[in-house]
Amino acid sequence: MKKLELQPSSPETQAFRGGQKHAGVLSQNPKAVMNALSSFSHQQQPWISGVLNTACGLVPVVSTEWSSAERRGRLRSRISAFRDRYAVRPGLYAVGAPDSSSDIFVSANYKLSFDILRRSLAGMTGWILVLDTKGINVWCAAGKGTFGTAELAKRVLGLNIAGLVTHSRLILPQLGATGVNAAEVRKKTGFTVRFGPVNAKDIPAYVRAGYRATPAMRTIRFTLADRLVLTPMEVNPALRRFPLAALVILAIFGLQPSGIIFKNAWTGGWPFLVLCLTGLLAGTLVTPAFLPVIPFRSFALKGLAAGAAVIAPLVLMTPLGGASPLLDAAAIVLFPLVASYLALQFTGSTTFTTISGVKKELKFWLPVYIAGIAVSLVLIIIHKLESWGLA
């Protein structure tokens, strides 16, 4: 664990050392410190390494290291939506031994946002002001306005941040600008908002450069890694709907004039189950992964292209197709459209699509999706009628 330098650096920020791991407790009243610590959580959080006595009251000092639980937490937050909110208590925190001239970094109370920020501040000193964003990350909360002007002003005034520091700088993540009106914050609190870099990891360089972000620090990228990290959030919800689709497919294939026959359902239906799953993955995994190299700007077209590229060869060249030209046609119409629809859903996670654009795409594509389902159903029905000798 990193040793924290906790020295009383100014009269109003008397430093205490808390926790048993730190030898040489400076506190005049260790009991008060422990009480304060336990009031921050029912069990001592591993990332709180001490407590500072400040003009704003007792402030927890946070470690800039990650525990293995936090690494696991990050992984879990990527794979599935957390059932219980992964949140940090809103309020003021300290990194190192900050004083009245130290910077104030504003964060959301989503634990992962907060963890990334404190890790990025390794070796620095400063204050972290955590807003109550209901456990949601900065970007999303700014869009909803919970990472917003009103909440920021409320925290700054409520905690009397003006009594804590002698400067008037608040450093916000740049993506918070969607929810925070800097001029309004100045009017309400007297503090000047500076929007820092998009990524917290650039904060040290930003501060060193005299609070200047390079154009690269100002732009949001969407790398392969960024996209892959998001794919579980696309794949999982789609997979959850797969059993229902599978049931419908099996019912259709099992359907006989005499009722649903399970053996027929399976022998006739399994290629469609595989193709459906493939279409699903084409939209939720292949399209996000190969986004820049798939032609077209439209996401519906990108998904359609990715879907057609995997579905058509499977139907035409493997035993997944060939049972009947009608079924092959139905599969080639339907499953690329599934991929297209799911690819369009991915616009919600990208960093460069617009709502106006998605609306425009849907206006055209929603009728196409409905028509596609209808056409493939008709093809399947004709196939069924033929196989029953009714057509």
Binding site: Q174, N181, L344, I355
Partner: protein, 99 residues
């Protein structure tokens, strides 16, 4: 990567711009750059309608129709005729995305 051509609802009125530079600070896609003391749009197709510039331009030089919503919320609103609403709660864990 760019999204659809000529769809972003970003509008900029150079007459109101005082050249404060705030828009270049907040835009995550470098849509604005400063030229001769005024903001200037580089490529409107890069805009993702996040609304940060319009919210932070003190002089009302920028407007953009920013709304939250995702494809499924828009579909719901198209089918029911309401405004798209979107719950961020579900996968709030994503680092860059929303709905």
């Amino acid at each position: 990567m760019k999204y659809l051509k000529n769809v972003a609802t970003l509008a900029y009125d150079p007459g109101r711009c005082t050249g404060c530079g705030r828009c270049t600070e907040v835009c995550p896609h470098a849509v604005f750059e400063m030229q001769y003391g005024k903001a200037h749009i580089t490529d409107k197709d890069l805009c993702m309608e996040c609304g940060a510039c319009a919210l932070n331009c003190e002089f009302g030089a920028i407007t953009v129709g920013s709304g939250v919503g995702c494809a499924s919320a828009i579909i719901r609103s198209m089918l029911t005729g309401g405004e798209p609403t979107c719950g961020c709660g579900g996968n709030a864990g994503t680092s860059t995305g929303c709905c």
